[in-house]
């Protein structure tokens, strides 16, 4: 068992290395034209000391948007899910409202938000809307997973609706919520980046789009790489948390 596992880990590592090597080879031999730089060039560009303040400022702005959007969206999604769980008649309406908001393309929301609020709060709001959707959907289905016998026990012992929700339904929704925490990481980043494409004053999204327009290829790839690595590491962290929760709740 362990040998099969370490073997698949080895293969996975080789797979990632092959991918990175292919990237390097395509870039070095210009197989995809001038717009595909080798990985080493991108890394060298990233580690130039003169560029550090630029990337630092942009990353700080984007990560702040992602963080605020993630926290507010996650919390809001959970609260709405609890409301729709506790007050059954509002549920169909809330479900539809959230589905409709989710279906509105973010490029349509962004300019509206820029007019109504400001360019700098647009990224966290779009990010929060995406995250809130995932949390709402996961939490509403998670809150309904408690077993019938537990429910009967709570009813027999005279627990009220609220205390049943907090002590039975919420704990049994934890695995679903942990999955939502993981799955909404890339959504949070996408929201922040798209929000920044609409005239934010700083951030990685702004860097990406202006590098695309000005043909600054190493800058473009570096900004995308930073975003991808940040999202990947946060995703990995929450995957660990998800596994812990699932083992604890079994």
């Amino acid at each position: 068992m362990t040998s099969a596992r370490s073997q698949s880990l080895m293969l996975g590592l080789i797979g990632v290395l092959v991918f990175l090597a292919t990237w390097e080879v395509i870039g070095t031999y210009r197989l995809a034209g001038l717009t595909w730089p080798p990985l080493s060039t991108v890394l060298a560009f990233l580690s130039t000391p003169a560029k550090l303040p630029l990337f630092g400022r942009a990353a700080a702005a984007t990560f702040t948007s992602v963080g605020i959007g993630y926290l507010c969206g996650g919390f809001g999604g959970l609260v709405l899910a609890l409301v729709s769980h506790l007050i059954a008649p509002v549920r169909p309406g809330l479900d539809r409202l959230i589905a409709v908001i989710h279906a509105v393309p973010s490029i349509a929301l962004a300019p509206l938000l820029i007019v109504l609020a400001s360019a700098d709060v647009t990224p966290p709001i779009i990010s929060g809307l995406g995250v809130g959707y995932i949390f709402y959907v996961a939490a509403t289905s998670g809150l309904a997973t408690a077993g019938a016998s537990h429910r009967d026990l709570f009813a027999v012992l005279g627990a009220g609706r609220l205390s049943t929700a907090l002590r039975l339904d919420l704990p049994s929704a934890l695995p679903a919520i942990a999955s939502a925490m993981k799955l909404s990481v890339p959504i949070a980043f996408i929201g922040a980046i798209i929000g920044e494409w609409f005239g934010a004053s700083r951030g990685l999204g702004l860097l990406i789009v202006s590098a695309m327009q000005n043909f600054q290829i190493p800058l473009l790839w570096s900004a995308v790489l930073i975003t991808a690595v940040a999202s990947l590491s946060m995703f990995a962290l929450f995957s660990l948390l998800e596994r812990l929760v699932q083992e604890r709740m079994r």
Binding site: S8, L11, G15, S106, L116, V185, V224
Partner: protein, 253 residues
């Protein structure tokens, strides 16, 4: 007769009261605050713009729809094919699975500017972006479906001496179909939205481009009507995928 009519009205009301409340609040706020229509037109003004000239929306919407469908099918064909390849070879599976995981955990939308630079600013790039965004869910879900066989069925095939080929065609491939359809339903609305974002960034054609043009000319009514059409297109794609899923599952199980 009247009771069924009443029933369906209350059915709609139960589902859409919150959406109606938001739209009504929007209209009241716009009228009360006396906002200029450049800043924010009310829903009535947006609707009027659409009803006045629905044909000018039809062509871009159709183009976006077709681009999204072509990209979706392309991405699913590639993703499904790669999932089957990695099912058939343990080596390939070990090499590809982590890449599939990596690409589902990074924001793929940020790759749009890179692909736009690589392929040039035209419709092929939009299709490529939609295909890329649909590729990873297809690869991951179909891959999971190929491995999640009904309990005991694999043993049965082995006991009766089914060959690898038979096992694949009669057992493994059919059992991955529900997963394939689930991925299809989850990805179809995203495909339209991805197409719109790509069109917006690269400005060639379709709803995204129409939106960009309208917003650039401060024609906010038209811009909002365009996003309304994009929303409807996305929801329609979801509905079509859901219908397809139900139909396939009914035949399958």
């Amino acid at each position: 007769m009247t009771s069924t009519a009443l029933n369906s009205v209350s059915h709609v009301a139960r589902r859409y009261w919150a959406v109606a409340l938001v739209v009504a609040g929007w209209q009241i706020w716009v009228s009360a605050a006396g906002l200029s229509s450049i800043v924010l037109p009310g829903p009535l003004a947006v609707l009027r713009d659409f009803v006045g000239d629905p044909l000018s929306y039809a062509a871009p919407a159709g183009r976006t729809f077709i681009v999204a469908i072509v990209g979706l099918l392309l991405g699913f064909t590639l993703g499904g094919a790669l999932a089957v390849l990695s099912w058939s070879s343990r080596l390939l599976n070990g090499l590809l699975t982590p890449l599939g995981l990596i690409f589902t955990s990074i924001p793929v939308v940020t790759l749009i500017p890179i692909i736009a630079r690589l392929l040039g600013y035209d419709v092929r790039t939009v299709i490529a972006i939609v295909a890329l965004i649909c590729f990873f869910p297809a690869f991951v879900y179909v891959g999971a479906g190929l491995r999640a066989l009904p309990p005991g069925s694999d043993d049965l095939f082995r006991v009766f001496g089914g060959s690898r080929r038979q096992r694949f065609l009669r057992l493994v491939l059919p059992s991955s179909v529900p997963n394939l359809m689930l991925a299809f339903r989850l990805t179809a609305p995203e495909a339209v939205l991805a197409a719109v974002v790509a069109e917006f960034l690269m400005g060639t054609d379709g709803l995204g481009y129409m939106f960009r043009k309208a917003a650039g000319e401060f024609d906010t009514e038209r811009a909002l009507a365009t996003s309304l059409i994009a929303t409807i297109t996305s929801v329609a794609c979801f509905g079509l995928a859901l219908a397809a899923e139900r139909r396939v599952l009914r035949r399958w199980t």
